[in-house]
Symmetry: C2
Subunit: 356 residues, 2 copies
């Protein structure tokens, strides 16, 4: 199959601007590799609230479910921050992950040598860092019930439930080991098995799945220690696999090591339809100014070709184009340093598309 | 009152060696400030398992409950790692916190200028970092029920419960604001209120308590963002207040910023009897070699004088002694750098005691 339908959800804030650049790059890819790409646009997050009153309308669900993959910009902004919990833009994200059964969130934290100075860590500590966080995305404390705020006696109590079934751990462990096989064959499973029984089970199941992947090295780490080790010596990690909430926290820590959030993509896979989005947010403060960095979204499109369309050569081509533009000294504002050439969002998109 | 009884629990690994140095320093303090200190020793953790079969024996509980404060070394080690969940050394820690109602865990992460180079972060990013993490310690997901591993249909499921009552949030928020008043009057409350209802309640209660502390500045941060901000620009923080598990993770990240875990103390307060311990573990690999850094434990004893005995002048004296020994170039192995004078655990204890 050489024709794919992509649901394009620009979302809020800088979402529309950066997604536009990714589409530009996909158009260039389409031409170069002879692939037909159909884009179906839909609203999500705040944009959908404004139009339909809900962050994840049925119209959007239909568009997504009739596509081969989803490219998302970003959602949320101060305008919708004071809405009730149930209809805030974030609900759309969580709803979409669940709808797509996208249980495996892959978040690479890779340092670009050209941007070594952007890190707040010493160069010798972060040079060459290349971590893939595999975060469980559709279960755990994000989705466990009971949940809510209840009245107990004369006061209120807030409750959430951390819950993992064996099969949920098994499938995410499998993804981690498979990913590790294509990388440096080392998996660190992060849990809190000295305190939380749910992660005692997690650890046990990961060990069992590991029996089928004896070519991959496995070690276990408590989450508090992992938070330290990421700062102390990040190069010790290849693949990190962990629960939804620990993955949320640790993947952001790993991303920050690189000092350039504007570069980092993510893929949420496991179901039939994959979801691709930058790890950064909607950055409402700089929206519409043509200064946002589109590379994270462009790289997310790159991951789409590997994980949804099984064309890793396209991701490689995109990666090469990005690196070449960086090597030539072009930078958006967020990654600018002295002696480089400052370019706008549009210009960065053009440069990368041309390079393809 | 000028006489205090201190329960001394050396624990496992390097615990006994480092506690011995803290006692040395307390003896010096006792002389200098004219305070009578009675020490009551008891077993905990692996040492207690070996003797009594359980990590937190009744004998130890009695000793603790008849003391004014508890000084703990560290617990655990590979010897006891494969015991069943219920009788592992960590149970002793959790049991003790609960027994003492020590709901507020204070973990200062302060960078010593002399050790600036130990950090993996750039000097300009960490110089002057001085964060106090106030972690809720006796509730949240560490203690919520239901918990355990259950059978559901033909597979197992692991469950833990995150639960906060209003009064639990209220009292920890109060501690954070009080601590902030003695510092730089800024509190960052960390939650995941965009996903977890338990922390929606957390945020609401923190805001309500804040009404009584209008002289303190309050802001809220999601935990994933906090993990990033700690790496990006740690100097933005003064006091961080958060849940048990988030505090476990973030306090370790903050500690690692300083690059010198061997220096950092902690206090667990809120009940009648306070618990003081270094943040580092029992380091079984270097136990008995007289090379461990006793300063974290000595500093923990320092916190005891402030928080349990209301004698901040003693903590100041200990702090001054430590700084002066560092300024003279003495270092244990973990913080050694070229040009310094390498000393043993015992020697470091002697030097600090003499300085008092
Ligand atoms: C916006 C929020 C619900 C989301 C999450 O916690 O999963 C975000 O932080 C992320 O990591 O994608
Ligand atoms: C040993 C463990 C139970 C403990 C915790 O998670 O509280 C430790 O990590 C700590 O932070 O004191």
């Amino acid at each position: 199959k050489r024709e794919f339908t992509i649901a394009v959800l620009p979302g809020d804030g800088i979402g529309p601007e950066i997604v536009k650049q990714a589409v530009k790059v996909m158009d260039a890819v389409s031409e170069k590799f002879g692939i037909k790409l159909n884009y179906k646009y839909a609203l999500i997050g705040g944009a959908a609230i404004d139009e339909f009153g809900v962050p994840f309308p049925d119209e959007t669900k239909e568009v997504i479910l009739s596509s081969d993959a989803v490219l998302l910009g970003a959602v949320g902004g101060p305008k919708w921050d004071n809405l009730p919990f149930e209809i805030r833009p974030e609900r759309a994200l969580l709803g979409m992950r669940k709808l797509l059964n996208a249980f495996a969130n892959l978040r690479p934290a890779k340092l670009y040598d050209e941007l070594l100075d952007s890190s707040t860590l010493k160069p010798e500590v972060v040079k060459g860092v290349d971590i893939m966080v595999v975060r469980e995305l559709t279960s755990g404390i994000y989705f466990g019930i009971p949940r809510g705020i209840f009245v107990d006696g004369d006061e209120r109590v807030g409750i959430n439930t951390l819950r993992y079934y064996e099969h949920e751990v098994e499938r995410i462990a499998r993804v981690a080991f498979e990913v590790a096989r294509k990388r440096n064959k080392r998996v660190t499973s992060v849990d809190k098995a000295n305190v939380l029984e749910a992660t005692v089970l997690w650890r046990e199941v990961v060990e069992k799945v590991h029996e089928e992947y004896q070519d991959v090295e496995l070690n276990h780490m408590y989450v508090d220690n992992a938070a330290m080790q990421i700062i102390r010596w990040p190069k010790q990690f290849d693949v990190i696999v962990t629960t939804n909430i620990f993955g949320d926290i640790l993947s952001d820590a790993c991303a920050m090591l690189t000092g350039s959030l504007g570069m980092l993509p993510s893929a949420s896979i496991g179901g039939k339809i994959g979801l691709y989005e930058p790890i950064h947010g909607s950055a409402p403060d700089i929206a519409g100014q043509n200064i946002a960095n589109p590379i994270a979204t462009i790289n997310s499109a790159g991951m789409m070709f590997t994980y949804s369309f099984n064309m890793p050569e396209v991701e490689e081509a995109i990666d090469k184009a990005v690196r070449s533009v960086l090597a030539k000294g072009y930078r958006t504002k967020d990654i600018y340093s002295e002696g480089c050439k400052l370019v706008s969002t549009e210009e960065m998109g053009d440069l990368i598309a041309e390079e393809i």
